[in-house]
């Protein structure tokens, strides 16, 4: 029973972190039709920024968190302005360039901080809560709460603001959006900042819990693509739903068997969904 509750809480935390990463990936695919393979590295940079500004420079966790969001958002803006915008006419260009950014960020992190780093980020929420006789570290609950707040904020932004409508309009019909006077460039820029910033926030949230390394983005991005396919490409609601289903599934199988079995089972889950519903859980069949 204890083990079950513990696993449930771990599932919720994994879902929360995964949802933050995946929603940004889905957002960029929706708006720009780009698969950002460097998205996992933005998560990694977020964790390093949280350590550097929060711990190394001594700013504290909150400063580290804000810095992580700002640094990653700036990388996102850079990618849009200097890379994607210049490669608009090239169908393979953005894809290849995201792999380039992935390698550059990984190498930069290894070069600046070393490969086998033992960097520790202290959570301001030390200690553990006692829930039904089980000790649950406060920071895990904080990750869950923070993800709910951030995703809630994103929903409000997309549903109730002019920027949100414009962003959804661009994702749904680019030419029609231009006819309303919406600047695709401006929306892409803000969408990249938002998407990268959310990945950075996820990295900073997870930094006190996971081992920080230049390669920590790799498993995240693989999971993220599985989740996006599961949820239906381009659907934000689908991505969040799939993040929760996949992370819960994965965490339970890891806990009761092991993580290799969980990876295989996760892929089988994706295949099963694709067989039953080829467009993903909440995806729509594309018209050709």
């Amino acid at each position: 029973m204890q083990f079950l509750i513990e696993t449930l809480i771990n599932s919720a935390m994994a879902s929360a972190a995964s949802a933050l990463v995946v929603v940004g990936l889905a957002l960029i695919f929706g708006v720009m039709r780009i698969e950002n393979f460097a998205h996992g590295e933005l998560y990694m940079v977020g964790a390093y920024a949280a350590w550097y500004f929060g711990t190394s420079l001594g700013g504290g966790y909150a400063v580290g968190f804000v810095a992580a969001v700002m640094v990653t958002a700036m990388i996102g803006v850079f990618m849009e302005v200097f890379l994607f915008r210049r490669l608009k006419e090239n169908p393979m260009g953005p894809l290849i360039v995201t792999i380039g950014v992935l390698l550059v960020l990984q190498t930069a992190a290894a070069w600046l901080f070393g490969v086998n780093s033992n960097l520790l980020v202290d959570s301001p929420f030390a200690g553990a809560a006692s829930i039904a006789g089980i000790n649950v570290p406060w920071h895990r609950l904080f990750v869950i709460g923070a993800a709910i707040v951030l995703l809630g904020g994103l929903t409000v932004l997309l549903r109730t603001t002019k920027f949100g409508w414009a962003l959804r309009a661009v994702a749904q019909d680019k030419d029609a959006a231009r006819l309303q006077g919406i600047s695709i460039g401006a929306i892409s820029l803000l969408a990249m900042a938002l998407s990268a910033g959310l990945a950075g926030a996820a990295g900073a949230l997870m930094a006190p819990i996971v081992r920080i390394s230049p390669y920590m983005g790799q498993p995240i991005i693989i999971t993220a693509f599985i989740v996006i396919i599961l949820g239906g490409i381009g659907s934000l609601e689908g991505a969040i739903l799939a993040a929760i289903i996949y992370s819960t599934f994965f965490t339970f199988i890891s806990a009761y068997f092991d993580s290799t079995v969980a990876s295989i089972a996760g892929l089988c889950l994706m295949l099963l969904v694709l067989v039953v519903k080829p467009s993903g859980l909440m995806g729509k069949a594309q018209k050709v």
């Binding site: 409508w165 309009a169 749904q172 006819l179 309303q180 006077g181 919406i182």
Partner: protein
């Protein structure tokens, strides 16, 4: 109001519009032509979605062919695209409000919004529904409402009668007249020449990217070639 001077538009090396020169004054005017004649391309060039390869477009006497789509909306040209292109997963309400994306005068936007809701009560009833739940005719009304929300001086309408029942086509004609009655000009592009010509004062026929005939809409209804090719009587 709008003048095209030696306008040419190419897609790659293929010319869709060749050397088109046309002037339309205020009011309702139309360009008729068959499928693939270059009508939509001409509309897309006016609203800045495609760049002309040569020639110029003058709106109220000023060249606009090098302006962005956004700047052209700001100048007062709204475009109701062929096939409606409402935002399928935005609600009716959001679709209308996004038409006023560049406007800052919220009181006037609210007035226009209420006006559209009173002209199109079907849209008002479905305010909270996604646009993809509407019928074709309702979507066309929504696309027109969205264009009106931009407070344009000139409304470009690309095949507004396409796919509509005869009753809806009649309703559409009334809507176009009422838009014009409010002082907005309308440039219609249609395969359905009958309706377009009866609404318009001036008309032009576009064939294979070139203007083949130009004149008063009333005279064109009697033109032998137009009758055979576009009216079918």
């Amino acid at each position: 109001m709008i003048e095209l001077r030696n306008l040419a538009v190419h897609y790659g090396r293929v010319a869709a519009v060749h050397d088109v020169s046309l002037t339309f004054e205020h009011g309702i005017n139309c360009i008729i032509g068959s499928n693939g004649a270059g009508k939509s391309t001409l509309m897309r060039a006016i609203s800045g979605l495609v760049r002309p390869s040569s020639g110029s477009i003058l709106f109220e006497g000023e060249p606009i062919e090098n302006l962005s789509a956004k700047a052209i909306v700001e100048r007062g040209i709204a475009h109701v695209p062929e096939g409606r292109h409402v935002f399928p997963e935005l609600t009716v309400d959001e679709n209308l409000k996004i038409g006023a994306y560049l406007r800052r005068d919220s009181a006037a936007v609210k007035r226009d919004y209420d006006k559209i809701c009173s002209v199109f009560p079907r849209l008002a009833e479905r305010r909270k529904q996604f646009a993809n739940t509407l019928s074709g005719g309702e979507q066309q009304m929504l696309a027109i409402g969205r264009a009106i929300m931009a407070a344009p001086k000139l409304v470009l309408m690309d095949e507004p009668s396409m796919g509509l029942s005869p009753v809806m086509v009649g309703a559409m004609a009334e809507v176009i007249k009422s838009i014009n009655a409010e002082g907005k000009s309308v440039l219609l592009v249609e395969q359905n020449a009958n309706v377009a010509l009866s609404l318009s004062s001036d008309a032009a026929v576009l064939e294979q990217g070139r203007i083949s005939l130009r004149g008063k809409a009333a005279d064109m209804k009697d033109d032998e070639h137009v009758r055979v090719a576009y009216i079918g009587v």
